[in-house]
Amino acid sequence: MTQSPLLLSVDNLATHFFSQEGILEAVDGVSFDIHAGEALGIAGESGCGKSVTAQSILRIVPSNGKIVMGEISLFQNGESIDLVQLDDRGQEIRQIRGGEIAMVFQEPMAAFSMVYTIGNQITEVIRLHQDCSQSEARDRAIEMLRRVGMPQPEQTIDAYPFALSGGMRQRAMIAMALSCHPALLIADEPTTAVDVTIQAQVLELMKDLQRDMGMALIVITHDLAVISELCDRVMIMYLGKDVESAPADVIFRDPKHPYTVGLLRSVPELGEGHSQELDPITGSVPSPYRRPTGCPFHPRCPEFIPDVCDVHLPPQIELAGGHRVRCHLYVQD
């Protein structure tokens, strides 16, 4: 298979928050590449920096936070722009947000204002990014709503967000995000708040759209099975670090990092029956203000090597087949 062109390259990204309690290293040296049309899954437990990674790309990090290091290169028409260098309120990033790169959130209510119809809001996004008349924008919005499987799009376009069911709101939000044909869609927990049947609809929709529109996708979730359904590559985060990343089929078959192994053993798997043994990771993610020394996972790690893991931060090791891991158990191939 030939590799499609590079679309986004995140290199050694660090985003920190500053407060009275101290400095919170929400994202701390994360690197990954996304090629056109590719789907990357970012997984990890709550507070490990997944959403802040997405916020950093779109330059919507809350004001008490700051990108302190790294580059985020977006490649368009053979040129690259470093998104980190842009003014986060400037014209350029506003064109990219919702244009080149769009985002959908866990809670669709957060994406919509309650006082306008979904049609108003989708056409506004379209007109912000594309040169077209009000009625052309409306036609495109209806077309997009139809594309995401909204029932009776001609009528639903005039509905207020609160009048839609959970599944329909999710579709409306995806329609809005896709209305300008983004090259990259970032979906932060797109299905956490919905039922399995609706989740299956949304995942199927995202798969279809990604295939038909050649769009790249970043899916952020704590559910590895969702990633397994959708993604080509996986990145596992723990306390702001990208502890492991690999092609999806590799990481699920042969996980290397003890944290990834633990995550996979923590979920009861459908089809494994009543007697399956769970082997959960002990403890919980520590407070980010009290980041452990050395390997951040060492207090919970069953493979912990005394005097090594609690002292030295493991470097990123490049294994064969695009498999990268930060753990002292592995040495460079």
Binding site: E45, S46, P151, S165, G166, G167, M168, D195, V196, T197, I198, Q199, A200, Q201, L203, E204, H222, D223, L224, A225, V226, S228, E229, A248, D249, F252, R253, G262, L263, L264, R265, S266, V267, P268, E269, L270, G271, E272, G273, H274, Q276, L278, D279, P280, I281, T282, S284, V285
Partner: protein, 381 residues
């Protein structure tokens, strides 16, 4: 509208027996003998009024729970599963009488064999029965009073019921409970905010177990937790069940959790049970199209080649609105196997025992016996 009340006679289903018949008789032929049942729920209903306008006039009703019947045998776990709004929480709360059911019977059998009809108890009697039932909720952040210490939270049932008076004795009891949920007893002087989500859920479990209940209702107890912590709590619940011989009514929307924890499962759709039986046989071979679709919707980690991704049944549309239930089979607008009869005639809950092995297996579908539905396959090697 569903024609539930228009159907005069039905056979084979406990929900349909005349109300004067004793629940014990209804339970016959339903697996474990009735003396082993902690709970027998018969024809439970909860209708919420829909109020509109200035005078709050009732313009309709939400059939949140409609003709629900099941039993829970001592020491087993019965899971209630279904999409949000299908009536799981309402069923659990009616069983505890945390809310008043609109109708039906809830028979509770204590360890000493005493039988109590929950729905007709007076308030003081209800309180004394409720100490034999524990409840664990979804959100460990809002279910614990932030102004009380762990000691006060877990000790509260003993104090308000005047079961323990001495301070030392109370502390010893709370320490024992904390140890049973694998928490350090020295934590008892701390306030809830000092604990993680998983630790708070352990505290909530300790409190639910404080009075040594016969029966525990757990409503989505792990849904708000991180995956590793979910697994810890699930294993803990399983261990406690065998240590303390607990009986669980386990409410969840997560089918993998159902499979991991439950002996039997009751699948609900818009206020009704559509399938009820042994978890392993239902998951292997579901008999209701809704169960099939739910199982098929669960994403699974594909450890094999990417090409093995399975075909799945994608249900159209959303869960039906319980205030406006479709006629006939409530599932018909989403059912891939719908026939004309489904749009008109409401299917009854029928026991397929015999058709499907020796264990009772109830299904509410006109074509339950004909359809060849797909269950869970073991993940490919």
């Amino acid at each position: 509208m569903a024609q539930a009340d228009a159907v005069p006679t039905r056979t084979n289903t406990p929900a349909d027996s005349p109300p004067d018949q004793l629940p014990q008789q209804l339970e016959e032929g339903r697996g474990p003998s009735s003396a082993d049942n902690v709970l027998e729920v018969t024809d439970l209903r909860k209708y919420f009024p829909i109020l509109r306008g200035f005078f709050r006039r009732q313009v309709g009703e939400v059939k949140a729970v409609d003709e629900v019947s099941f039993h829970v045998a001592r020491g087993e776990t019965l899971a209630l599963v279904g999409e949000s709004g299908c009536g799981k929480t309402t069923t659990g709360r009616c069983v505890m009488r945390a809310i008043e059911p609109s109708g039906g019977s809830v028979l509770f059998r204590k360890r000493d064999g005493e039988e109590i009809e929950i729905t007709t108890l007076t308030k003081p009697d209800l309180r004394s029965v409720q100490q034999h039932m524990g409840m664990i909720f979804q959100d460990p952040f809002s279910s614990l009073n932030p102004r009380l210490t762990v000691l006060e939270i877990i000790g509260e049932p003993f104090v308000t019921r005047k079961l323990i008076s001495g301070r030392r004795e109370l502390e010893e009891k709370v320490a024992e409970l904390l140890r049973s949920v694998r928490l350090d007893p020295t934590y008892m002087r701390r306030y809830p905010h000092a604990f993680s989500g998983g630790q708070r859920q352990r505290i909530a479990i300790a409190r639910a177990l404080a009075l040594d209940p016969d029966f525990v209702v757990a409503d989505e107890p792990v849904s708000a937790l991180d995956v590793s912590v979910q697994a810890q709590i699930l294993s803990l619940l399983k261990e406690l069940q065998s240590e303390l011989h607990l009986t669980y009514l386990f409410i969840t929307h997560n089918l993998s959790v159902v499979e991991y924890l439950s002996d039997r499962v009751s699948v609900m759709y818009v206020g009704q049970i559509v399938e009820l039986g042994r978890t392993d046989s239902i998951f292997r071979q579901p008999r209701h199209p809704y169960t099939e679709a739910l199982l098929s919707a669960v994403p699974v980690v594909e450890t094999g080649k990417a090409g093995l991704r399975r075909e799945r049944i994608i249900l159209e549309g959303d869960v039906a609105d319980p205030s406006n239930v479709p006629a006939g089979c409530t599932f018909h607008p989403r059912c891939p196997y719908v026939q004309d009869i489904c749009r008109e005639e409401e299917p009854q809950l029928v026991d397929l025992t015999g058709a499907n092995g020796s264990q009772p297996h109830y299904v509410r579908c006109h074509f339950a016996e004909e359809l060849e539905l797909q269950g869970v396959r073991n993940s490919p090697q």
